[in-house]
Symmetry: C2
Subunit: 366 residues, 2 copies
């Protein structure tokens, strides 16, 4: 059987061991004789599993005391409104950095609930870099950053120092490197890129920043509803949490986020080196801001005539699929190709892609 490497930007590749364990639990969870999809969340095995998932995350990210962890439905997109609803007063200001599509969606939503100051934007250059010099609003409640931009392949290598606290959407690079959680008031992340399958978002929130806005918050959108209930106020997305649990175990066994950071750098460098030395391809992101997770690349304009580009792109993608290299099509706003090489992508997959890129270049340019 052909080995398939899945370079999808999300939902995306998961560790094989984690999916095998999740698969087994569908017909028998933890020796109960009942499948995990069919077990009440009010049972000891499920409560224990959710609590363990929380502990694993605390350990892996060295989350300090004073922070709470929530697993909620609705994805990171629901957090775009939950964050300002819970944190931003109607007459207060939040600073937002505009570094990509998801960053712009987050700031657009925040405008419904308070004042938003867009402190920087790289929109005019198709979000190909992270603007690093900007002024924060005096008295701003928080500074929002999207840690990694899935579409444009840029990443905050060092987070800016917030006047108050940072809030970050880390959907596409959480657990890919160590972070200093103490600088953040709130971190949120949809699971379906680096942590698990679709259906659950993880929220890490410093509890003392809550309860400071005046508005009447809908019960389900209030973080304070879910904290005392340990994410069990209503039925949580149990299976998605369980897959995350298995992914966290896998990561811990590999040596945690510090070991993962080294592995991610090695994988990304393999690919960037080939692109930097290519006569046919080039990366699209500014070198100093390059993501270790998502690597968009295109044909060099000087190497491919404009009228040949589309058919050559189709060619590349078609042969890639034949070789088991799946989901390499770039996002429409950047074009070309994109390789998402999240934590779970084995180095073998990147090596196979690199070999194919070299082979395709040789075939095309001779």
């Amino acid at each position: 059987m052909k080995t398939v490497y899945n370079f999808s930007a999300g939902p995306s590749i998961l560790p094989k061991q984690a999916t095998e364990e999740a698969k087994a639990a569908i017909t028998d969870f933890a020796g109960t004789g009942i499948g995990i999809l069919e077990m009440s969340h009010r049972t000891k095995p499920i409560e224990g599993m959710v609590a363990e998932t929380e502990s694993l995350l605390k350990e892996l990210l060295s989350i300090p005391a004073g922070y709470e962890i929530l697993f909620l439905g609705g994805g990171a997109s629901l957090q775009f409104c939950m964050v300002p609803i819970n944190l931003l007063g109607a007459n207060s200001v939040a600073d937002y950095t505009d570094t990509g599509l998801w960053a712009s969606k987050a700031l657009k939503e925040a405008k419904k609930f308070g004042k938003v100051n867009v402190v920087c934007s790289s929109k005019d250059s198709t979000y190909n870099h992270i603007p690093k010099t900007f002024e924060q609003t005096s008295g701003a409640t928080y500074l929002h950053v999207t840690s990694n931009n899935t579409i444009y392949g840029t990443q905050w290598k060092e987070f800016p120092k917030a006047n108050t606290y940072l809030v970050s959407d880390m959907s596409s690079d959480i657990l890919s490197r160590p972070i200093d959680v103490s600088k953040f008031g709130l971190i949120y992340a949809g699971a379906q890129k680096n942590m698990g399958p679709a259906g659950v978002a993880t929220i890490i929130v410093k509890s003392d920043i809550l309860g400071k806005v005046e508005r009447d918050i809908p019960t389900m959108l209030d973080y304070r509803t879910h904290i005392p209930e340990k994410s069990m106020f209503n039925t949580p997305p149990v299976f998605s949490i369980y897959v995350m649990n298995r992914v966290l175990h896998w990561l811990k066994n590999l040596g945690g986020v510090a070991a993962m950071e080294k592995l991610n750098a090695k994988k990304a460098n393999l690919l960037y080196d080939v692109l930097d030395n290519s006569k046919l391809f080039k990366g699209t992101a500014a070198k100093e801001d390059r993501s270790t997770m998502n690597i968009p690349f295109v044909f060099k304009e000087e190497a491919v005539a404009a009228d040949k580009k589309e058919s050559l792109e189709k060619d590349f993608l078609k042969i890639a699929v034949e070789k088991g290299l799946e989901q390499l099509k770039g996002h429409r706003s950047v074009g070309g190709f994109r390789a998402s090489i999240y934590n779970a992508m084995p180095i073998d997959g990147v090596e196979a892609l690199v070999a194919f890129i070299n082979e395709f270049e040789k075939k095309t340019l001779g």
Copy 2:
């Protein structure tokens, strides 16, 4: 190996065939070589699967033209606020029927967004019946009913005729019987009782009732965000939808909701007959309102001395588990026992429970 019957109120038993199919898809979805947890929702196989799930639901519930179907995260509890946010103007009135815990949660949440008139309540009798005579508010936007009360074991056998349109939480009995969808403006249901696993709520909404409130609705809470995107505005809970897809196929092959209604009546009658003829046990719900899905029962006061009750209950539950009859403990607000016999509970499971009830009664009363 012992056969286990899972009488959990939710998450709860699923058809064996559906869980086996879902399990297989975890390592290879639809022959793609990629597991369903790892596939982008923007791929043809996933888009096709979600569209098929929608079609199956339309067919099974005979949903007329003019209605839209959505699959969203956050559970039915998020719908408690989404319904009034989308439908109820700040100065308008909605009528709510108070028939149980979930009904009372729904009406409490609606009060945050408009005026709520509680047109009837059975709270004073521990929600043991459905109040059927009440007056609706003239000009009320909608009448809200909870079709089945999981905790108290009551069910609207015939829905009241709304002055305008009905809105219903059908989480615990959707697909258990045919319904006339045209009487409803909106139906919502968490999947984890009769349709699938936790993590997805299904919404069936008549599109012409939307867009009539003045407020600025958060993007993710606005049904109109999700309708043109076919539930793909953001990453939907793909796997939960897929399990639902397999459950709907199973139901269709069994003959659909009309056939299921007959089977459910047969199962419920088996259990109610035993309780009605028992000297030790009795059902707690008013006969005419008895649910076919959730059957709470307790010891008769005259049969068990007050000081023996607790230990005899423990005894019953302990032996039940030994016999593979799981999750029969009643909800704390009713006490005693509860058998949830959703669509997926085979008649063999009910027969095994009935045999055990008879045996336990004989052993106890002689």
